[in-house]
């Protein structure tokens, strides 16, 4: 199937305005992406070797490169089939150097170690994915707790971090936050919350409140009902070896 590209404008008061090329296989940046960029900024040192995991159009690497005027070495990967073409196009457009590979999580980075791994691969409960607009009705194989992919990233990242290295990872409240934090605490010496951002859920999910409440009561997801809407959150954590 022929892929069509589109222009995407990212604008944020603190981070600036940027234009990116996306195609049909690229996830659009979300509020989670913004939270990750804000959280990662203070963790980057001169000469850092950084892996942007689940890089999409390359937005995290590109914005961090533009904002931090230091000698950084960015590596990026995503499972989408056009990731190399899209990220290189966006990197050239913003005059940034990124080594980009198509990869299922760490597959293409065997034997490579990084100072910082910034993970933008997250998940929500597969039951929530079915009723949300986020996955365009594509099956989301993340399990009822939405934790399968994130836990895999957490466990495998320890093999790809240098001594003293850090992993930055988000948890969406429509996944099993406690289970994911517990998993990270088992393999990292320190797991620290960096920020928590709240967001209103899309209206199409409100018709499924009984299902969401059932999942919440089972401890698989969390959310708040306030102001006549459903409010979720994204937490970003720093895990250190």
């Amino acid at each position: 199937m022929k892929k069509t590209t589109k222009e995407y404008i990212f604008e944020n008061k603190d981070l600036g305005k940027y234009e990116f090329t996306l195609d049909t296989s690229t996830f659009e940046p979300t509020q989670t992406t913004v939270s990750i960029i804000h959280s990662s900024l203070p963790l980057i040192n001169c000469d850092s070797k950084i892996l942007d995991l689940g890089c999409g159009c390359g937005i995290v690497s590109i914005i961090l490169s533009k904002l931090i005027k230091k000698n950084l070495h960015f590596f990026a990967s995503d499972i989408s089939e056009s990731v190399e073409e899209i990220v290189q196009k966006n990197a050239m457009r913003h005059n940034v150097n990124i080594v980009v590979k198509r990869s299922n999580i760490f597959e293409a980075w065997s034997n490579q170690k990084f100072d910082l791994i910034i993970n933008d691969i997250s998940g929500v409960s597969d039951k929530v994915a079915e009723i949300s607009p986020w996955f365009n009705n594509i099956a989301c194989e993340t399990g009822p707790g939405g934790d399968i992919l994130v836990k895999r990233v957490i466990n495998e990242s320890t093999k790809h971090l240098k001594k003293g290295g850090k992993l930055v990872f988000p948890i969406i409240s429509f996944s099993n936050e406690d289970e994911i934090i517990d998993s990270a605490s088992k393999v990292f010496s320190s797991v620290k919350l960096l920020r928590k951002d709240f967001w209103p859920t899309p209206k199409e999910m409100h018709d499924h409140l009984p299902l969401l409440n059932t999942l919440k009561q089972s401890g698989l997801i969390s959310f708040e009902e306030k102001f006549g809407t459903i409010i979720g959150h994204t937490s970003v954590f720093e895990a250190s070896l």
């Binding site: 008061k13 509020q31 967001w199 209103p200 306030k226 102001f227 006549g228």
Partner: protein
């Protein structure tokens, strides 16, 4: 609460460059997007001691006029 306090609270919640007045809404204030709206509601909730979170119409109140109308109906505006 006084109306002028609500206007100031909305400006601070949005970190808006422009002044907020009776005609302000998501249509004419760039910072008033869905996340900005949630910031406004959270600030209103704190200022009203938790009364705002129980008002179900507030999620749709994306203008100063609508917020004033709801708060008048609820007896929150002095």
């Amino acid at each position: 609460m006084k109306k002028e306090n609500i206007l100031q609270l909305i400006k601070e919640a949005l970190d808006a460059e422009n002044e907020i007045n009776d005609d302000s809404s998501e249509e004419n204030i760039p910072e008033w997007d869905s996340l900005g709206h949630l910031s406004i509601l959270t600030a209103l909730d704190e200022a009203t001691g938790g009364k705002a979170s129980a008002i179900s119409d507030l999620s749709e109140a994306t203008s100063v006029k609508k917020i004033f109308d709801i708060f008048e109906k609820e007896g929150i505006i002095e």
